[in-house]
Symmetry: C2
Subunit: 412 residues, 2 copies
C-alpha cells in the first residue's frame, strides 16, 4: 500500500488531478502540489477547498519547486513523505522527475513523453530516446514508473490492450481518434500550452504500418470519421506518444493516431508555420532584439486555462480496432465521451484537461491499492486494463464500446 | 534653376530615385544619398556606378544621417549645396525633413504621408494633421514642397487633375485602382516594409463619397475590375493618402482608392491581425521579454528588397474617372502599366519601387527647370499635370488612356 501524492505542475491538468485526488483522499492520503510558481499551486489548493472536494481530511499543501532540480525534488519527496508522484508539469521535466523518484524509491507517473526543448520530433520510437533507457534501473530499484497515463496516451493504450485480450484473436490495426467537438468561442486558441501544442505538429508524422515506421507530413493524410455523439469529423494522421509504445506491444498491428482539426485551425497553423512564426529558433528584429517567434505567438494567444468557463460541447476519444476473431473479420470502437461544461462545473477545468487529468489519479489509486504497483517501468498497455477502466467508469471517464452488437457502456 | 539633389532613404525606392537622377544628371547635378545606415547608401552608389547610370560626371556620394535630427539634416544640405531634397525615407521622418528644408530654403518632396509611429489611421484629411499645418510657413519662406509625388499618391493625382481639366466639364467620381499582377515566387511577402505595409490596412478605411467621409473596415468593400494587360482583378477599398487631398481638390467628386489583393494575402493578413501579431503595442513573453509583435512578423518575413531579382509580371495603376462632358456622361481610365523584370534590369529594383521612385525624379527635374518650382506647398493635383506626365512618358512611366475612343498612349 502506497500513500500520499505529490502533483508536479500547476496548469489545467494539475487542477483536475488535485480535485480528483481530493475526491479520493481516503485512498490516496495527503496531497502536495509543486510548481515553479507557488501562487498557481495555491490557487489550486483554494479551488479544491472552495469546491469542498476533499473526501477525508488530509494535508493539502502548495510548494515552490524547480522540477529540473533533482536534489530539490528528492528533498521535497522526503520532506512530505509522499510515495506517489504524478508528474503533469512541462514535458521538459520528465527525466529529472523520474530520476528523483528512482533515487527516492517512490512511484512515478506522467501523461506525456519527455521532450528536449531544443529538439523537435526525434527518431522513433520516441520512448527509446529517453524513458526506456531507464527501464533497467527502475526494475533494479523496484520503482513503479507508469509512462503516459493520461487519456491519449494512457486510456487509449488500455483500450488497445483490452481489444487484444478480449475482442480479437489477432489485431491488424489500431486507429486512435481524438476529436474535440467543443467550442471555446474565441477566434483562435490552442487547448493547452501553444508552445507544446504547435511543437506536436511541426515535425514529421510517424505511424507504424506494415511492420515499419512510415513518415508523412502534418495534414498530409486526412479522413472523415463518423463517431458517436460528435458525428462526422475530419481528422488527420498525427505523430503521438502512444504510437511509439503500441508499435512494440500490439504484435505487429498497424498503429495510427488521428487528431481532429477544423479548417480554421489548419489555416492558422499553416500561415504561422509557413511564415516561420512557429520556429523555436531566435530571430533578430530590425532593432536588434533577439526573440523566439513561437514565444511571441504564445504571448498573443489566449491563455488556454482562461477558456474553461466558456467551453461547451464534447470530446470523443477512442480506438478503432480491426482484426479477426474466430476466423471472422471484425471491428470495434472503444471510446469515451466527455463534456466540457460538466468538467468545468466539477473541477474548474475544461474537458481536455479533464480527460488528461482523471486517468493518472485512477493509476495512482491502483498503485495505492497495489494492483498496478508493478515495481518496474511500464507503458499502460503493459498493465491489466480492466481495473483501470473500471475505476475510470466510477470516477468520471466511462468507457463505451460500439461494434456489431450495438453501442453500449462497458463494465467489468 | 535649382540643382543638386539629396536623396533621403536607402531602400528600394531610393535605389530607383538614385538611378533616375543619375540618368538625368545633366538636369539635376550632384547626387547625395543619406540614410541612418551609410552602407546601404554606398551599395546604391555602387549600383549606379556599376550600371553606368550617370549621364554626366557629377558628384555621387553616400552619407550617414538620422533624418529625425533637423540640425544634422540642415548641416548636410548646406555642406553638400543641394537645392532639392527627395525624401523617400521612412514615413516617420517627413515632418523633420520638411522642417530642415524650410529652414535651409531648399525644395522638398516626399512620396507618402507623414506618420506618427504611435498612431494608426488618424482622422481625415490626413494631410491636415501634419503637412498642411506648415503650408503658410512654406509660402512665407518661398519654399517649394511637393507632397506625395510617387505613383499613388502622385501620378494618380496628376491623372485626376488632367481628367478634370481636359476630359470632363464635371467629374462625379475618381476611383484609383492599384493592381500588382506580379509574382515574387515566395509563399508570402509584403512588397515594401511590412511594418508600413500592414499599418496601411489595420485602421479604418476612409473614402470621400457624397461630400463627406465614409468609413469602412478593411476588406469590407471589394469589386472586380477588368483592366488593360492585367485583366480581371479583385480589389478592395483601402485608405490611401491621395483620397485625403483629392477630396479637397476635385470639386466634390467621390474619391475612392482600391487596392488589388489576392485571397492568399487577405488570409495571411487576417490571421496575423486577428491573432494580434500586427499590433504595434508590446507584449510580454512567458520569459518576461517585452516585444512588439509586428516587429517580429517583420523579422520573419522576406526582406522586400530581396524579391526584385525573381519578380515577374506587371503592375497596372490608374484612375477610373466618371462625369459629364458636353452634357453626356462618360468614363475614362488613365493609367500606366509597368513591368517588374524590366524595372529590375534597368535600375535593380522591382516594379513597385520603380513606379514609386521615378515620379519624384520627374518632379525634381520640373523644379530644376522652374516649371514646378512653385515656392509653396502643393499636392500634385494642384500643379499642371502635362509637363509632369510628358516627362514620365520619356523617363519610364508612359501614360495611356482608355475611353470610348479606344486604348492609346497619351502624349502632349
Amino acid at each position: 500500500m502506497k500513500k500520499n501524492v505529490l502533483i508536479i505542475g500547476a496548469g489545467g491538468v494539475a487542477q483536475v488531478v488535485a480535485h480528483k485526488c481530493a475526491q479520493n483522499s481516503d485512498v490516496l492520503g495527503d496531497i502536495h502540489i509543486a510548481s515553479r510558481t507557488v501562487d498557481k499551486c495555491r490557487k489550486i489548493v483554494e479551488s479544491v477547498r472552495e469546491k469542498k472536494s476533499l473526501k477525508t481530511e488530509v494535508k493539502l499543501e502548495a510548494h515552490a519547486l524547480d522540477a529540473l532540480d533533482i536534489e530539490a525534488t528528492k528533498a521535497l519527496i522526503e520532506k512530505t513523505g509522499v510515495q506517489i508522484v504524478i508528474n503533469v508539469g512541462s514535458a521538459f521535466v520528465n527525466m529529472s522527475v523520474l530520476q528523483s523518484c528512482m533515487d527516492a524509491g517512490v512511484a512515478y507517473m506522467d501523461t506525456a513523453i519527455h521532450e528536449d526543448p531544443t529538439k523537435i520530433c526525434e527518431t522513433p520510437p520516441w520512448y527509446g530516446n529517453y524513458e526506456w533507457k531507464r527501464a533497467a534501473e527502475c526494475k533494479e530499484k523496484g520503482v513503479t514508473a507508469i509512462l503516459g497515463v493520461g487519456f491519449d496516451p494512457g486510456v487509449v493504450n488500455a483500450y488497445a490492450r483490452l481489444a487484444k485480450d478480449e475482442y480479437f484473436d489477432k489485431v491488424t490495426s489500431v486507429d486512435i481518434v481524438d476529436i474535440n467537438a467543443g467550442s471555446h468561442g474565441r477566434w483562435f486558441s490552442t487547448n493547452f500550452d501553444p508552445e507544446i501544442n504547435f511543437r506536436e505538429f511541426t515535425g514529421v508524422v510517424y505511424s507504424w504500418q506494415n511492420g515499419q515506421w512510415q513518415t508523412n507530413q502534418m495534414f498530409e493524410v486526412g479522413q472523415e470519421f463518423d463517431l458517436p455523439v460528435v458525428g462526422k469529423q475530419k481528422a488527420y494522421m498525427t505523430g503521438h506518444d502512444e504510437v511509439h509504445s503500441l508499435s512494440k506491444n500490439m504484435d505487429g498491428a498497424d498503429v495510427r493516431f488521428w487528431m481532429g482539426f477544423g479548417d480554421h485551425y489548419i489555416n492558422v497553423f499553416t500561415v504561422l508555420k509557413n511564415l516561420g512564426l512557429l520556429s523555436e529558433k531566435p530571430v533578430k528584429t530590425a532593432e536588434g532584439l533577439e526573440v523566439v517567434p513561437l514565444k511571441v505567438v504564445k504571448a498573443v494567444l489566449p491563455d488556454p486555462s482562461s477558456l474553461a468557463p466558456d467551453y461547451v460541447g464534447k470530446t470523443c476519444i477512442g480506438d478503432i480496432v480491426k482484426g479477426t476473431k474466430d476466423g471472422t473479420e471484425r471491428e470495434v470502437f472503444i471510446y469515451n465521451v466527455a463534456d466540457h461544461k460538466e468538467a468545468y462545473e466539477e473541477v474548474g477545468s475544461q474537458g481536455i484537461s479533464y480527460t488528461a487529468g482523471v486517468p493518472p489519479v485512477a493509476a495512482a489509486m491502483l498503485i495505492a491499492t497495489g494492483e498496478w504497483d508493478v515495481k518496474q517501468m511500464a507503458n499502460v498497455e503493459e498493465l491489466p486494463p480492466q481495473p483501470f477502466l473500471n475505476l475510470l467508469n466510477k470516477i468520471g471517464l466511462p468507457t463505451r464500446i460500439k461494434d456489431e452488437n450495438g453501442d453500449r457502456a462497458l463494465t467489468f
